[in-house]
């Protein structure tokens, strides 16, 4: 697989609309790149929010957004995760996917379509990125550091416009 610039990739929104065929394609992508086993991939595929496709139609990256508790904050938030194929990791693809997913979820929150959660949450798993992207406020995505897990992974949150703390 050759590297491509962001300009040749297309982000496709599939949030809560992943059908069986797309689920299998996403699971196969994860398996091909050693990210997940097939069974887990089929389950996680239902959480995919955006798919980045190359000009030839193949998947270059996916990101998921799923609701789960954040005990440290005492609320349920959309957990964001992304997986970018190795050939595309030197692009801004991950950042683009953060932007796209946040904007989608915020639009749904502000319009009242989906008020299940007041924000988006991210646990930074990649050790190299932890060292290089150590700004307390990420300058473009505005994800804010709110503490670290017990094993040292930084946690970040960005709340939606006008969001309130759930009672």
């Amino acid at each position: 697989m050759s590297a491509e610039s962001d300009a040749t990739l297309t982000l496709v929104e599939v949030f809560e609309r992943v059908d069986e065929a797309l689920g299998r394609e996403i699971a196969a992508f994860w398996v091909e790149h050693g990210a997940l086993a097939s069974e887990e991939g089929l389950v996680r595929a239902r959480q995919v929010a955006f798919v980045a496709r190359r000009a030839d139609g193949r998947i270059a990256a996916v990101c998921t957004a799923y609701l789960d508790d954040v005990p440290a904050l005492g609320m349920r938030l959309f957990h964001f995760r992304t997986f970018v194929a190795a050939a595309h990791r030197r692009t801004d693809l991950a950042r683009s996917m953060i932007h796209a997913t946040f904007e989608l979820l915020e639009r749904r929150y502000v319009s009242g379509v989906d008020r299940r959660s007041p924000g988006m949450f991210l646990v930074l798993e990649n050790r190299d990125v932890q060292q290089t992207r150590d700004e307390c406020i990420w300058p473009t995505t505005r994800l804010v550091y709110v503490g670290s897990t017990a094993d040292g992974r930084p946690c970040r949150v960005r709340y939606f416009r006008g969001a309130t703390i759930p009672a």
Binding site: A72, L73, G74, P118, G119, Q130, Q131, D134, E135, C136, I137, V144, Y145, V146, G147, S148, G152, P154, V157, Y159, F160, A163, T164, I165
Partner: protein, 161 residues
């Protein structure tokens, strides 16, 4: 009354004395402590009366993996005690501290504000304040809501988080 005070940064002995005087006249601020190196903000009315005191003390809370922050404590007198006044006071303190804080790993990266229930009442529900970039960061073991606002360009303590 909320709009009729200014916030004044004090230093050294004058700061301790000002905070001390306020604490002795307002029992609700008895938890306020001025440690060496603290920055003190006094809320003063136009006629010079102190109606509130804020104290910023450098700390390294475990939840931020050793990143130094200003831990902020605020005591407001009865004439200005409201959630809105507290938010305004802390927002102005944040701007003052942000202007003066050097941007390096040894200095505070932001302002951490564990909220005493005497200071902010139950209507403090916004995930992010309008007045300053304080975001909700959960509660401490005593149930106090926590707010954190980082200075632009500040970084997490290197090699820890």
């Amino acid at each position: 009354m909320d709009e009729d005070y200014d916030i004044v940064a004090l230093h050294d002995a004058a700061a301790a004395a000002e905070a001390g005087r306020f604490v002795t006249t307002d029992p609700k601020s008895s938890a306020l402590r001025v440690a060496p190196g603290s920055t003190v903000h006094a809320l003063r009315t136009k006629d010079g009366a102190t109606v509130g005191v804020g104290v910023a003390t450098i700390a390294r809370p475990p939840r931020f993996a050793g990143t130094p922050v200003y831990r902020y404590a605020l005591a407001l007198g009865p004439s200005v005690r409201s959630a809105a006044a507290a938010r305004r006071a802390v927002a102005r303190a944040f701007r003052d501290l942000a202007e003066r804080a050097p941007r390096d790993a040894a200095h505070p990266a932001g302002v951490f504000f564990p909220i005493d229930p005497e200071v902010l009442v139950a209507d403090d529900r916004a995930c992010v304040w309008d007045e300053a970039p304080f975001v909700y960061a959960g509660k401490d073991p005593d149930g106090r809501p926590l707010r954190i606002a980082w200075f632009e360009g500040a970084r997490i303590a290197r090699g820890i988080a």
